[in-house]
C-alpha cells in the first residue's frame, strides 16, 4: 500500500469516527495543538486518558460491588470520567457518563450497574479505535509520509 492510499485510508477512518459519533470536535482541537514544538501531544494526552480511565473504571467497579453503595463516591468518579472523556473528545463515553450520573442521583443500583457496563463498553471501543488510528499514523510515518492535517470549521 502506498503512502497516498494509507493517507486516504486514515482520512476515511477519521471521518468514520466522527460520523459514528465516537469523537467530536474536541479531538480536533487536540490535533490542532500538536505541532513541531509538541509533536506527540495527542498521543500523550490519549495515553494519559487511558491510564486515568482504567483506574477510574476499577474504582467504579469496586464501589458498585459493595454491599452498601456510596452513591456520592460513585457519582464523583463518574464526574471525573466525564470530565476526562470530554476533554479528549470521546463523545460516546461522555454521553454514557451523563446518563450514569442521572442514575446515580436516583440511586438506582441496577441501572447504575448497567450503565457501568455500557460505559466500559464505550470506553473499550473508543480505545480500540484510537489505537487503530495511531497505528495507521505510525504506518504512514514509517512509510515516510506525513499525517494529513484536517482543518475543520465548526
Amino acid at each position: 500500500m502506498d503512502v497516498g492510499q494509507m493517507q486516504r485510508q486514515l482520512v476515511e477512518y477519521t471521518k468514520s469516527l466522527f460520523i459514528e459519533g465516537y469523537l467530536d470536535s474536541q479531538f480536533l482541537q487536540l490535533q490542532q495543538l500538536q505541532d513541531e514544538s509538541n509533536p506527540s501531544f495527542v498521543a500523550e494526552v490519549v495515553s494519559l486518558f487511558f491510564e486515568d480511565s482504567e483506574r477510574i473504571l476499577k474504582d467504579l467497579t469496586f464501589a458498585l460491588e459493595q454491599k452498601i453503595i456510596d452513591f456520592k463516591k460513585v457519582d464523583a468518579h463518574v464526574h471525573q470520567f466525564k470530565g476526562s472523556s470530554s476533554s479528549i473528545g470521546a463523545q460516546r463515553v461522555k454521553n454514557a457518563c451523563i446518563a450514569f450520573r442521572g442514575y446515580c442521583e436516583e440511586q438506582n443500583v441496577n441501572s447504575c450497574t448497567r450503565c457501568l457496563q455500557q460505559v466500559k463498553q464505550e470506553y473499550f471501543i473508543v480505545k480500540n479505535k484510537l489505537e487503530t488510528l495511531f497505528r495507521l499514523e505510525h504506518q504512514i510515518i514509517g512509510a515516510g509520509g506525513s499525517i494529513p492535517m484536517v482543518e475543520l470549521s465548526f
Binding site: L33, D35, N38, S84, F154
Partner: protein
Amino acid sequence: MIMDCNCIEPPPGDELLTKYQYISDFFIALAYFSIPLELIYFVKKSAVFPYRWVLVQFGAFIVLCGATHLINLWTFTVHSKTVAVVMTTAKVLTAVVSCATALLLVHIIPDLLSVKTRELFLKNKAAELDREMGLIRTQEETGRHVRMLTHEIRSTLDRHTILKTTLVELGRTLALEECALWMPTRTGLELQLSYTLRQQNPVGYTVPIHLPVINQVFSTNRAVKISPNCPVARLRPQAGKYMPGEVVAVRVPLLNLSNFQIYDWPGVSSSYALMVLMLPSGSARQWHLYELELVEVVADQVAVALSHAAILEESMRARDQLLEQNGALDRARREAETAIHARNDFLSVMNHEMRTPMHAVIALSSLLQETELTPEQRLMVETILKSSNLLVTLINDVLDLSRLEDGSLQLDAATFNLHSVFKEVVNLIKPVASVKKLSLTLHLAPDLPVYAIGDEKRLMQTILNVVGNAVKFSKEGGVSIIAFVAKVESFRDARIPDFIPVLNDNQFYLRVQVKDSGSGINPQDIPTLFTKFAQTQSPTARNSGGNGLGLAICKRFVNLMEGHIWIDSEGIGKGCTATFIVKLGLPDRSNESKAPFVHKILGNHGPTNFAGLKVLFLDDNGVSRTVTKGVLVHLGCDVTTASSSEECLRVVSHEHKVIFMDVCSGIEGYDLVERIHQKFTKRQDRPLIVALTGNTNKVTKETCVRVGMDGLILKPVSVDKMRGVLSELLEHRVLFETI
C-alpha cells in the same frame, strides 16, 4: 202524824208494782245522773264545741230530772212533809229548766243541722281540690316531659334521631297507642309514611297531599282533631271490638335555609310534614287542651331542630365540596408543575440530543467543503453549512424559549449588514421556493440603511421564519418581501393600538412585509397563531408540519426588539400578509460598538502570541488539565498547573496574570477566590481569576460574580476561543461569557 201525809196509801195488792216503780225510778235517776257526766267527759275531750251553755242547761235539766226521780223513791212510803217540799222544789226547778231548754233548743237545732250541710259542702270542695291538684300535677309532669323532649330533640343534629326521639317521647308522655310522621315526597304531591312509633319499618304508604283533611291540618298551626277513619290515621288494622281512640294531627313545618327571616319566623314554609297521634283505643280518653298544646309546642320544636339539622347538613356538604375542590385544585397544580418540569426536562434533553447529530452534519459538511467540488456542489454545501448553523442556533433558541419565559434572554447588539441579511434569507429560501414553483421577490426600500445595530442572528431567524411560513403554506403564486423604514405616522394602525414608538436619533424602525398567495387563514384563528404549540383545528389552515414554536419565538424576539408583529388575512384561500416592525440602531460612522462579547471573536483578532504570559490553571482532572495546558502552551503562555486549592495557593504568585479555575470538577473554588483576594491586596498585582464551567446555569454565573471572579467562560474551550478570551481579558480585565 199520819194525817200529815196527804198521800194515798196504795192498795195492798200493788206492792209488786210499787217495787217495780221504785227500781225503775232508781235506775232512771242513775241514768239521768250519768248522762251529764258522760257529756262533760266527752265535751272535755273534744276541742271544739260551741254550745257549752246549752250543755250546762241540758245538764241542769237532766240532773234535776234525776233528782226528781230520786226523790220520788221516798214518796212510795210514808214520807214527811220535808220530803214533799223537796220533791216539789225539785219538780218546779226541773219544770223551769226543761222549759228553758226546750226554748233554747229551738234556736240551736237548726244551727246544728246546718253544720252537717257545711260539712258535706266542705267534703265536696276538698274532693274537687284534690282532683284539680291531680290535674296540675299531671300538667307539671307533662311540662317536664316537654322540656325533656325538647332537650332530647335539640341535643342531636341528626334528623333521624330527632324524629324518632320525638315520637318515642310523645308516645310515652301522652301514653299514645300510635304516633306517626308523614313526610312529603320529593315530588311534593304525596305524603309518605316515614316514621312510626310501634312499627319498626314502616312500609312506604303514601297518601296524596291534597286531601281535605290534610289541607285542614296544614292551614292552621294548631293541633286538629281528625277522624280515625281518614287515610292518615288508619295505620293499623282495626282491633275490632274497641272504638278507635281519638286522633289528633298537627303540621310540622319543614324549614329550608331560605326561610329564615328575622322578623317573620317561621314565615312561609314551603312544605309541611304531618304528625298523627292516636290515643289508645277503648280507653275512652279524650284529648285535653293541655295535651293539644303540648303537641303543638313539640311540633314547633321539631321544626326548629330539623331546620338546624338541615343547616348542618348543608354546611357539611359545602365543606365536603370545598375539600373536594381543594383536592382537585391541588392535583391540578401538581400536574401543572409536573408538566412544567417534564417540559423543561424534555427541552433540555432534546436540546442535547439535537446538538449531537447537528455537530455531525456540520463536521461532515465542513469536511465535504475541503474536498474537490464543482462550483454548484460547493454552493450547495455552503448552503447546507449555513442552514445547519442556523439550525444549531434554532436549537439554542429552543432552549432560549424557556429562558425567554424567565425573561433572562438578552439580545446581542452588533453592527451588521442589513441588506445582506435579507439577501441571505432569500438565498436560503430560493431553492425551496423554486422546487414548489413559487416566485420569490425582495424589495428593499432605497432609504433602508445598509448597516444597522441589532441582533443579526435573531433578526435573520425571525425573517427566515416568517418567509419560510409564507413559502410553506403557498402552493402556487409567489411570495414577496418588502422592507423599508417605518414612518411614525404609519403607526396609527388599528392593529397595534398600544404601540407608542419611541425613537431617538440613533434608531429607526424597520418594517418588513411578507405577502403570500397561499391558503390564507381564517380571521378567527389569527390570535392563536402566536401561541406556543397551539395548532388551529381546521384542516386547511396552517398546521401541516411544524411544531408551532416558530411564530411564538418570533413574537418574543420582535417584542424584545421593542417591536410588533401581526398577520392579516382576508380569509381562506386569499393569501395572507405577515408584517413586523422592529427597532434597530443606526451605526455611528466614527466608532464601532464596544460590547464585550465572545461570539464574534472567532476570527484571528488580537495578539496571537501571548508570549511568556504567566498563567495558572487549576483542575483536578488530569486529562482535562493536560488538554487545557496544551491549548495555553500552544498560544505561548507559561503555564503552571495545580490540582487542588492548597497547591494553587502555594504556587500562586504576583507574576501570574490569570488564574483559570475549573469550577465543575468539585473544587470549591469559591472560597479560594476569597483567599487569593486576601493574599493580593493591591488590585494591580492581583491575578485575574476566571472560572471555567460546562454548566449553563444562571446561578453559577451569579455565584461567580458574587464571589468576586473576574470572568466566566464555558467549556469546551478551543484554541481560537482561548485566544479571544485571553485578548479580551488583557484588554478589559473582565469577561463574562453570555450564558
